[in-house]
Every structure is written in C-alpha cells, then in structure tokens.
Symmetry: C3
Subunit: 210 residues, 3 copies
C-alpha cells in the first residue's frame, strides 16, 4: 500500500522528466517504471529477497498507466507538463517518494534483521536511488547533487526516525507516521524555507543549469 504510493509518485516524476525530454510513449513507460521501482529493486537485491514487482506486477502496470496518462496530457494539452508548475510538481512528488521509500527501506531492513546502521543506510540509499537513475537516464545532473538543501539528509532523517521509533517500541503506525514526518518535513522545510546545513565556502557550487 505504502510501497505502491511511493512507486506511483516516483513514476510520476519519471513521466514528468520524459515529458520534458519529449520521449515517445514507451520512453515514458520505461522512465516511469525504472524510476518507480528502481529504489525498491535495489533494496530487494541487497536484502536477497525476491524483487517486489516481479511477483506482483500491479506496480509495473501502475507505472505504465501513470506514464501513458502523462504522455496523453503532453500530447493533447501541449505545454501542460512544461514550465514552472511541472517543475514544482516534479520536486514535490520526488519529496513524497523520498520520504515514503526512506521509511519502507528502513522498515524492511529492520524486518530482515539487519543491524541498525545498515537499516538507516539502506533506507537512505533506496530512497534516493530511484531519483538518481531517473536523472542519469535522462542525461540530467542528479537532483541529489545539485540540491543545496536537505535531500539525502531528509532521506536519512526519515530512515533514522523510523529505526529510532521502532527501537523504542512504538506501534507500527506511529513509527511510519514519525518516519514520514521527519523525512517529508525536513525536505519540505528546505524547499519552502531554505533550511540547510551551513554552506561550504567556495563559489563553484553546481547549479541546476550546470
């Protein structure tokens, strides 16, 4: 359930990038699917579990549906998926996916009995991986890199809060909500209010246009 929500929002970000790159319908499907299931695939490979979307292909179908809907919008309503509004949708959907996968990754790591630092590393890696492969496939500079605000930090906070609350014995629902609040909250705060760590000195910080 939670996983499918994460898959869908990441698939949406993949479809938005495909729209910007003027790909064809199957290009949309590939980019949406790889972005949507990428992080969970890495997680399951690392845990040596059966990859989640293979047995239950509903997530692949969801990604395809999101992709085709986006292609239709881009085709029949030109310009809708361009510009500032689409860029903001991309960034916020990415933020939601980041928080969801950080929580799920940390939970699955704990459930598999991995040590605590690994469960946090796990959540943070799998939460950021989908966006990384989206941007690399699209030939863009990875968002994880040019983001001057909380990005990996938000993923780590979401995973860390999930692990911490679970260790303290909170009910699963509270663990999940706490993790989501920490991950999405930090990311949202940095997007809305510019929260960040103190910047490193130096002026060659990469910008989105680099």
């Amino acid at each position: 359930m939670l996983e499918s929500a994460g898959v869908v929002v990441f698939a949406l970000t993949g479809a938005l990038v495909a729209a910007r790159k003027r790909m064809d319908p199957f290009g949309f499907i590939l980019l949406a699917t790889v972005t949507g299931v990428g992080g969970g695939t890495l997680r399951d490979l690392l845990l040596d579990r059966r990859v989640f979307w293979i047995e239950a292909p509903s997530d692949v179908l969801l990604c395809s549906a999101v992709a085709l809907a986006a292609w239709a919008i881009a085709y029949f309503k030109p310009g809708t998926l361009d510009g500032w509004g689409a860029k903001r949708l991309l960034i916020w959907a990415d933020a939601a996916g980041l928080a969801l996968f950080a929580v799920i990754g940390a939970q699955k790591g704990l459930a598999a009995g991995v040590p605590i630092p690994s469960a946090i590393a796990f959540g943070a890696m799998t939460a950021t991986f989908g966006g990384i492969i989206r941007d690399i496939l699209a030939g863009d500079r990875p968002m994880v890199l040019w983001s001057r605000d909380f990005y990996v930090t938000a993923a780590a906070a979401g995973a860390g809060a999930t692990v911490g609350l679970a260790q303290m014995g909170f009910a699963p629902l509270l663990v999940m909500l706490g993790g989501l609040a920490a991950g999405f909250g930090l990311r949202a705060g940095s997007l809305l209010f510019g929260w960040s760590f103190p910047k490193l000195p130096g002026d060659d910080a990469p910008k989105p246009s680099d």
Copy 2:
C-alpha cells in the same frame, strides 16, 4: 546460442564506442564486456539466478576477443572505426542486440514463472540496459533517450510478441522468430523509414549532439 549472439553484437557496440573514445585495449575489453553481459546480468540478478557469464565464461572471452579485434583495427587501420559507416554499424548492431535480448529476457521470465506483465517489462528492461550502461560509461547521452524513433517500443514489442506467441502455444522456434521479427522489424522500420509515434509538440527535443 541466441544469448551469445546477443552478447557479441552488444560487445561490438561497446567496442565501437571505445574506439570513438580512443580508449586503450583493456578499456575496449571493459566497455565491450559490460555492454555485452550487462543486460543479461541485470536479468539474472532480478530473477535471482546464477549470473550467466560467471559459470560459463566463454561469453566474457568472446567479448574480450571482439574488443581486441576492434582495438587492433583501430590501431592498424586508423579511421576505419570512425565516421558514418562505424556509426551505422553501431546502430544496427545495437538493434540486433536489442531484439535478441528482448526475446531472451521475455523467455527467461516466462520460464521462471513470472506474471505476464513482468515478463514483458523484464524483456524490455534487460534489452535496453546494456546500451544504457555503455552510453553512460562512455559519457554519452543514452541512445534510449535521444532516439526519436522506435527504441524502447521495439524492445517492448519483441518481448510482447514473445510472450503473446508463447501464451498462444506456438512452438519455441516460432515464438523466437516472431519475437525477433517484431523487435528487429520495428527498430529497422524506424531506422530506415522513420517510423515513430506522433511526436510530442515542443522544440526542445534532445539531439544526438546534445
């Protein structure tokens, strides 16, 4: 057999890119090998099977032989692997590898008992993956992205035809030939006659030179 054919043609594309980038002999070998075995490696990892080239290293040796032959040509016959002829060879070998791996991926997915949508997604992903990592390693924009014609579409068609014909009970040879015809035919049609989906409006379509 079929798999080795796919490995060799993808290895050839890797070697051609290495020639364009003026790499050294072991650079040729790395790029040829990673391109040749990349898609099948992803497929086997996802299916939790033993990775195909580890037990039977003949494919790795084939990739190395292709790479060294290409390096020798580039060294002793300068210019042979540059220019328009080499570019066309690259694109057509990539097309052959795409069709072969789409069919093999779909077949192996079916043989492993994965659901139908997953088998198709599988074939399409593993068919495109070798070329994706080749282009990323070479610092090029992935062909999957700038290709304005049928590319992912051809991979999906090859995988889809394979799955469809197999479900209809055709003999394995016919399934294979039908899958190859669908995949390679669509790609060839788009390369020769410009077949494609209707283009999305907008003028920022990336070009090979981007």
Copy 3:
C-alpha cells in the same frame, strides 16, 4: 581487514569529490559510502553472497566517519580539499582502492569456485565499479574513461596476478602481495612515468575537462 582498507580509501575519494561539489554533510556520507562499498556490493550480488556491509556495518560507519571528517575540514579549513594537492590525493587513493579491490575481487571469485576468466573479469569489474558510480553520481566524466594511462589495465593486472599466483600454489600472503604489486605498480608507473599502451591515432581523445 584488506577489504576495509579498500573501502576507506575509496570512501576518501568519494568525500573529496563531494568537497569539490560543495555537498552537505549527508551528501558527503552518501557519496563516500556508495563509492566505498559499491564495488564490493556488485561483487557480492554477482556471487549471490550476502552483501558484505549489511551484516557488518562497521564499513558503513567508517565511510561516514571519513565523510564527516572531510566535511569538517572543508568547512573549517576552506580550500584544503581543493586544488592540485586534493586532486593528487584523489587519484592516488583511487589507485590504492583499485589495486585492493582487484585483489579481493579475484580472491573471492576463486574462493567461490568461479572459472579463471570470470575471476579475473570479476576483480577488474569490481575494482573499477566504485570509482565509476562516484563519478557518475557527481556528474563527472568517469575517470575510467578519460584516463589515457593504465587504469582498467592495472585492475586487470592485479586480478590476473592474483589468480595466476594462486593457481601456482603460492601462499595467500604472497598471492595478495603479488596482486597488489602488479595492480598498484602498473597504475603508479602510469601516473608517475606516463606508462601506457600505444595511443590510438586520432585527436578526439577526451580530456578531463571534456
């Protein structure tokens, strides 16, 4: 032991790249960790072994410590991690990691009973993989590509010497030292004295600034 040394030096290269890109502390941690454990993760996935850092998270913690130390230096001593000195440290740490992972990869391949060509391919692939994902994540052209000198060659030599000496029945310590000497020696020779294969004719060789 040897593995942790390789993880630390590769983590250091990831942190140095993060410093150049002016990332935030968790960006440092992500880049250092992914670079440090990347090659070994690929190796363990291919061998279908439990991924090494999941059960024993000390390596993840080491990467994080290296990353935070580097961030602190970049923050409190601006300029220290820039410039020519840092570039040289990056290249030499990368060389050390390359040799270490070539030997470890080949050894683990042999221990898992894979055929000889696969064990060598293995060592070379896993030795170069960490640096490849570091450079791709950072949006840089992979060092493996623009390096005109012995790079993949050094990795293959280290893996090949390890496999050869092991086959000849030398003691494990000698196998290891021989592999390290071959891998690091070739790389060092090419960095210090410009050792390389004869260059391919043509003038479009990519440069670091490409």
